[in-house]
Each structure stands twice: as structure tokens, then as C-alpha cells.
Symmetry: C2
Subunit: 571 residues, 2 copies
Amino acid sequence: MAKRVIIVGAVALGPKAACRIKRLDPSADVTIIDKDNLISYGGCGIPYYVGGDVGEIEGLCSTSAHVLRDQKFFQNAKGVEVRTQTEALSINRMAKKLKVRNITDGHEEDLEYDSLVLATGATPVCPPLPGIDLPGVSVVANLHHAKLIKEMVSRGEVENAVVIGGGAIGIEMAEALNDLWGIETTLVEMMDQLVPTAFGKEFALLIKNHMEEKGIRVLVSEKVTKILGDKKSGVTAVKTSSSDIPCDLVVLSMGVRPNTQLASDAGLALGGFGGILVDHGMKTSDPYIYAGGDCVEIPHLVSGRSVLLPLGSLANRQGRVIGTNICGGCERFKGAVGSFCLKVFDLGVAKAGLTLQQAKEAGFDPVHAVVVQSDRAHFFPTQQLMYMKLIADRNTRRVLGIEALGAGGDAVKARVDAVAAILPYKADISDVSNLEVAYAPPFASAMDIVNNAANTLENIMEGRNKPVDTIDFLSDFKNNKTRVLDVRSAVQSGPFIKKYGEQWLNIPQEDLALNMEKVPRDEPLHLICGSGPRSYEAQLLLRKNGINNTKNIQGGIGMLKFSDPVFAPPD
Amino acid sequence: MAKRVIIVGAVALGPKAACRIKRLDPSADVTIIDKDNLISYGGCGIPYYVGGDVGEIEGLCSTSAHVLRDQKFFQNAKGVEVRTQTEALSINRMAKKLKVRNITDGHEEDLEYDSLVLATGATPVCPPLPGIDLPGVSVVANLHHAKLIKEMVSRGEVENAVVIGGGAIGIEMAEALNDLWGIETTLVEMMDQLVPTAFGKEFALLIKNHMEEKGIRVLVSEKVTKILGDKKSGVTAVKTSSSDIPCDLVVLSMGVRPNTQLASDAGLALGGFGGILVDHGMKTSDPYIYAGGDCVEIPHLVSGRSVLLPLGSLANRQGRVIGTNICGGCERFKGAVGSFCLKVFDLGVAKAGLTLQQAKEAGFDPVHAVVVQSDRAHFFPTQQLMYMKLIADRNTRRVLGIEALGAGGDAVKARVDAVAAILPYKADISDVSNLEVAYAPPFASAMDIVNNAANTLENIMEGRNKPVDTIDFLSDFKNNKTRVLDVRSAVQSGPFIKKYGEQWLNIPQEDLALNMEKVPRDEPLHLICGSGPRSYEAQLLLRKNGINNTKNIQGGIGMLKFSDPVFAPPD
């Protein structure tokens, strides 16, 4: 008899697993059920549909050959039955039956399975705020929300919008509303930085500055207490800990929670973050039930801990693993290092592994370096600056994480993906120093930024390079606590000397050896150059001459002027 | 007493090692000698100087902060003495002395060393062809050649040019001459494909087609027998096995040979390809002599063999390792996987690991897949096609190599770098299937091309997907030996049916199950779709129905029309 497979959820993992099963075993009897009537869509594309990059919503639920992925498509092209508007009610594990209900007519039925796949996804976090259910307040989870928001903005009903939650979706939605529709948009984040689970403070600040430059109002450390308005005319304002922000639209993007009721009711094991627990084969605690995608926890390959990583890419890869294993294979999904990327207006940002904070929480002793360098040969005309942070453990020199951003988004992602690839192998700093990224002047430097980041990190770890982060420097400098020795040219440092007077000294690095007597010996000194290497050379030379109380500003002027526009030189 | 280090060669590795030594040990006494008067330049940038992307030659020998890297710079900013126009004559290993001669005044001198570094580079291959020394014939090895060629072209003296050698530099020079200067350029390659050491035939053909589309005449399998002209008016033509090609400039780019005379005379061990042998610490067979860069052989981390890989990026990384080790460290340079990238007009091309041919020669049993897919989410407006070939060993499933190209050069390089990163770890196909490249619609697909390439390769290896390469298909099809079943839509296949009549059938994949009786059962059939996945689905369905004599054209129409412009659909 044909193998019967029931899959709950028809968005990403469900269809992937279903099609894989049919390809491996064309005689298998595969059924997907889903509560919704819209299925198999690229949910991550919603901000681009709202922002106009994707013209029609069908673009998000079509194949690359422009064929609509609807029930008929799955039946004819894939041999997979899809029952939409069908809800999974309960699992009878003993009898291997799934009870389902047709939402339109209420009809209930028991579906027998040999293998069951739970691809139940996740639900947006929706806190019990007063006014959260007002018209004009929406989460961004499925195509219905996408349509609703796009209809509102395209009818011209929205002059002001508030996005609550500064994660990836919040940032993408803020850009979409502001960029295409010219809507005055405020992004409100409760934590003291944007993308707190993905980036450290330094780079989150760069993202914030870029968004503000593009016209988004960004409020961090700001708690929303209430949404104002009435049932009839909808939302009118968002009340926060510090003010009322008038608006016609509120987008909630406060993260998601795994949908595990079905699994939990059936007694399947859940993890500490509430996701379904699965083994390396994506099998739950019931050997006939698999689960994957946003509803499961997976091992983080750097921290070793179990984590939730709701990403369409992981869901697809897991879907294939499940399909293979249901057909008798033994494919493994080993876990993830948390690779992440995001377009923020003109910037591409990407990261993998742990942030400094996460590394500490996982028991490491993290050391980090920040470097700024061209993404191509510095003499190549299309070169643009890239900003990179590399983190390693002091004791083992194991690389723990990387963050990067720059105008060349693909180039940023290239470096992060290459480092991400070796994180599961417990790569150490030397492995990144010698990481063999391909070189030609139109695409890279001979000593690529990723190699230089590792070299810098090693110098810091071994105590040769004594660094200070931009944020810490800014705090010290503004409190008048420290002076800067700028080792760039007189021309480059001129505007800073003019502005900061005695607080900003200049001796070009190549003249430093001959001008040692001009360096103040009895006070802490912050060293700066364009991006870091020359101030490091200066630091070594000063040390050789007995001047030890110096700190090298990580990423130099490049990092400084992006961290605080006050330091951008006049045009 | 201060450590005395002598370095022979001041282009890439030499200066890198010198500066690293001074940073680790500021008291070290470091001298670099070089025959040339121009030092520390980015030789890989020469084509971009000739082609105008880099305006002034100083751009190639300046730091990213626009400081000229000349003798004064090394003295003042780095504390390193550079003696230019100084030739190394011989090494007295017993006495640890290097005999040098000043080229300008003939003065000879013995320099004592504690550590000696050989960074002697490589010399362009210059075969003993009649006419090779005529005016207007030049190699591309240093800034003097660069100036000479640029002066000729910018004076308008060159109407026709011939580039001999279809490797990276030949291709870059052909583009430079043609693109900025509008010079009629012919590229002549002796082998039957371009970039034969980097790419297999399929992708080399795509590169050739793209160059021809841009106006370069590309001749492969063409041997140059003579260069015609006279001493007074210079070169007039290149004589090949099949014709005379008139020209005013001949650029020789036939590869390089390591400069090892000094090492060899001193009795240092050389490898099978004539490079200096070094250990993982970049030490030669003499424990006081290090070597690196274009003059050494290094281990290929996939084939396990010793190879020559003359690349500025490897030289820089090795230079740092040498510097560290001279100062008492124990850094290792483990080898390389042969990562390579190249801009060819609008294309970015990249590869890592072994080609199919190299894999066979190294004793593997290689299997390969070719996939064509968008470099971003297929619904994202800036998406462009990427072409990728992935190679693995049949017995161990170890990934051996990757080749990719596309209009989004950084995106191409991103995928290749990520796979290259795990090649040294003996990654298998599953590791690439689940390779965690970061995902967001502006930068990748949820199931990225690199994951799909591995999935396709696995399906081929397990015999589910029976493929045929474009080149083999074209040969069969043109000899009228086979028919095509096009499983795209009627609209898409229409022009092909019109052109090829009975030889081109059409049944859309989603209609195939219901039209099985229309499929010819008794003849070999080539299946095609847009890029490969639907024809694979069709192949499975046909097999289920007892039709086994089918082959799935790798990369579908996407690959076919790029391989032979005849198959490009009419606009």
C-alpha cells in the first residue's frame, strides 16, 4: 500500500517536504492541510509587495516560471493534494490519525497517516495593549495582512505610520512605507537598539543612523503603552512612555511565537523556548511525526544551545531533510549558526553566529575587532566602504560571530556567508586570517577585509592593539575626558582641529617617529586614522617610545562619522 | 642585537612580511631589496590601469589613504629600508649572507641575515617565437609594461591588438583594450577553451560567448607560430596555425614561471612544478630561509598535490604568516583550494577547487550538476540569472569544486567563497545542501542556488536525475540524433517548434500526467524546461510510466541559449 503522509501547514516547509517526497517516491499519497486559502507563498517578500518592488501579490505565490502555486498546481504538477481552509484539531498518536475540520462547512474527519509532518509555523507576538484590535493595527504574518496594509496605503489613507518592533520585519516595513509611499514613519523599539538579537550596539547604531538619514524617525528604549483611536475611524495615535505619536496605521512586528498547540496537546516534547523539539533527522519525540520550520527549536552551532530561528531558508532546507527521511533516507539537519541578512535602504547588513552579548551569555569570553575597508581593491572605481565586526573567544581563539554592513550588499553578504560556513567547524582566528576568498580587483582586496578583520582581532587578543569602541570613545570625548591624536594628514585633520581645538591633535603617522616630543605623555590619548591601521602603527611606535596610555579607535574616522554624523567632515 | 631580516622582492609578499615583522618586533632590522625601481604595487590592477578604470599609475602603488608606497614611505611610516635597483646574486647559507649588486653602479655587497625571505615572484612565459622581441610585443608583468602599453594605446597607435593566452590576464587585457579604447582585439588561445586551468568547458564557453558578444574575436585551439613585423615599425601581424591576424600590439599572457634561480643555486629544494618547496610555516629546506608568493608551491587542499597558485591574495596572506614566524610565532599556511574570480565585461565569474578534468587527474570519480537560478528571490526586481556547476566525488560524496558566473558578480563570488570555505574540511554534498547562506529576498532565494546545486547533484549521483550537458546535447541535436520534449508552456516553446518542427515537442509539465500517450516511447528524448527543475519532475513522471530513455538538459533553456546564441528566443 502507498505510504500516506499528512502535512500540517502549506507555506514553506510543508510544500517543500511534500514535493520532495513525491519525487523520491512517486507512489506516495501526500496531503497538505492548511487553515488558510492562500498557500505556498514567500512571506519574507511581504515588505517588498507593500513597498512596490513586487507589483502583484501573485508574485509572492508563483514559481520562478510564473506559475501560480495553488491547489491545482500542486495536484497537477506535483501530485500533491492540498486541502485549504482545513484546520488540524488533534493527533491520535496511537491510531496514527489526524483529526481535521473544514473551516467553511465545519465537517470533521480523521486522516490516517504513516508519517505526519508538523509545519505549523509561528504567530506574531501581539501583546495585550489597549487598542491593539483597532482598525488600522496589523501584524505582518500572511498575505491577508499584506493586502490589507497595501490597500490602506495605496488608497492614500495613511499619512503617518508607526511600526512597533525594530527587528528585520519592522525595519523592512518602515522602509517600504517611507520609501515608496512617502508616509511619515516612526519605528519604535523597546530595547535600547535596533535588531537586538542580531547585532551588537555599534552596528545597530549605524543602521539607525542610516534609517534616520532616509527620513524614518527611530525611537529606541521606547515602550508603547497604548494604541489610541476608536472602532469607527480606526487608530489615531500610539502612546509611548514619552509621547503620543499620531498615526493612521500601526504595524506590529514584535517577533513571533512557535505554533505548538497541536504538538503540545499530543504530548510531543517541547524545548525551553516553547518550540517543538526535534532530533537531527527533524523527528519529534514521536518517531512517526516530523516537525520543522518556525515551530521547532534547533541547535545553535556556536552556542550549542537550542534556539528558535524562524527563517524561510531554514524551513526549506529542513523540509527537504524531512522529505528524504520519510522516504527512508537518513539526511541530517545539524543546526544553524544564525545567518541573517537585511536590506536597509541603501545598506546591506548581514551577520552570523553570536553577538558579543550572546557570546557572554553562552559562557564565552568574547573579544572583538571592528574594521572598515573597501569592499574591492581600493583603487577600483566602484569600491565602497564595508564595516565589519569579528568576535572570537579569548581562551580558545574560536570565532564566534561576524557582523558586517555596507552599500555593496552582496559583497557584505559574501564575507558573512564565507565566515558562517566555517563556524560549525569551530574555526579559529587563523582560519579567518587565511580564509581563501577569491581575489580580483573588481571584487576584493588582495588582503580582503575579512582577512584583515581576523588579523586585527588577533592583534587585539594578543594585546598589541589596544582598542576602544566608537560608542565608548564618543562618551569619553563628549565628556571632555580625553584627547585625540589624529595621525592622518594635516589636510584631513584640519576641520577637526578647527572644531575641537586643543582636544584634537595632529601628527601624521609617517612623521610620528621624528616628532615624538610633541606627543603628550601624561594623559590618556585616543588615536585615530581613516579606518584603523595607521593609528595601530602609531600605537606601536608610541609604545616603543614608552607612551602606553593610548587607545586605538576601532574603525577610525570611517566608523566615527557613521556612528555620529557630527563627525562627518564638511563637504 | 637586533634581528636582521633580508627580504628579496618588494611587490606584494615582501612588503607585507616586512611590515608585519616591524609591528611584532619594532627593534628588528628589516631590509627589502628589489631589482626594480617601482615597488609595492598591485600588479593585478594593471588591466584596469590600461582600461582606464584606474586613472593614474600611482593608484596601483598607493595605500588606501592615497599615500605613495615608495622607499620614503617604507622608511618613515614602517621603519623598513628598501633598496631598489638592487639584485640578489647568491646566498651563502653557511655564513647566512646574501650577495647583492646595485644595478646602477655595479657595487656588490654581502648582507648578513638572521632570516632571509625569498619573495622573488614569477616571470611571464615567453616562448621562443620568431618575432617575440619586436617592438609592440609586451608581456604584462610590472608597471613598466603597463606604462608601455597604455602609452601606445593612448597615443592612438593601436588599431588592432592580439592577446595571446586566454587566462585571466589575457581576458582582462582584451577587455581593457576593446572596452575603453575601441581597439579591434583578437584573443588567441592554444587550448580548446578559455581559462582551461580554472573552468570546465561549459562555463568557458559561456565566457567566450559573452566576450564575442562584446566585440572581442576569440580563437581557441589556435596556435601562434610567428609574430610578423620589423624592428623599425614594430609588429604588423600574428601568424597562427590558420591565418595571419594584422595588429599593432601583441600582449603576451601565457602564464608565469616561478623565479627560483637564487633558491636553486643555493641548493634549496624545489617542487615538481619548479616552485620553491616550503612547509606549513612557509619555511624552505633551509630553516633560516622563508619563501612565499608566486615563487613557491603550496598544497592544494582538495587534490592534496603541490601546486603553483600565483595570486596576490595568497602572497599577502603568506607574507603575514612569514612575518609572524620570523618573530617566533607558529602560524601555519595550510594551502589553498584555488579560489579564483574574474570580471569579464558584464559578467562576474568565480570558481574554487578542481575542474572536472582536474578531479579526474587527481584520482577522483567526479560527478557534476549544472543549475541556473536567480541570484535573489525570483520575485525581487533586481534578480539576475546565476549559472553554477558543482562537482563531487561519486564514492565519498566529497565536494571537489564549484564554478559560477552571472551578471551579479558579487553575488556569484559570495556563493563560491562560501563553498570554498568548507572545501578544506572535506565537506560532502549534504553540507552544501544545508549550507547556511544568509537569506532575505533582496539578496538570496529561500532555497539558494548553492543549496539547489547540491540537491541537484545528489539527485544525479543517486541516479534519479539523468542529465546531459549542454555541449553534448548540442552535438547530438545538431546531428539530428535526438528529439527534445519541452515541458514549458506552449507560448514559451512555440518559437522552438516553429524553428525545429518535429525535432521539438511540447507538453507542459503540469499537463504531462494526463498526456502520457503523446510521449514517444521508443526513442531517446531530451527533456528541457527553463532551467532544469521541471524537466527533472517530467523525467520522474515519465520513468513512473515506463519511459526511461530520457535525459534532462542541465540548466535548461537558460544554459542552452547562453551556450549557443542560436537558441536565444527572438525578442
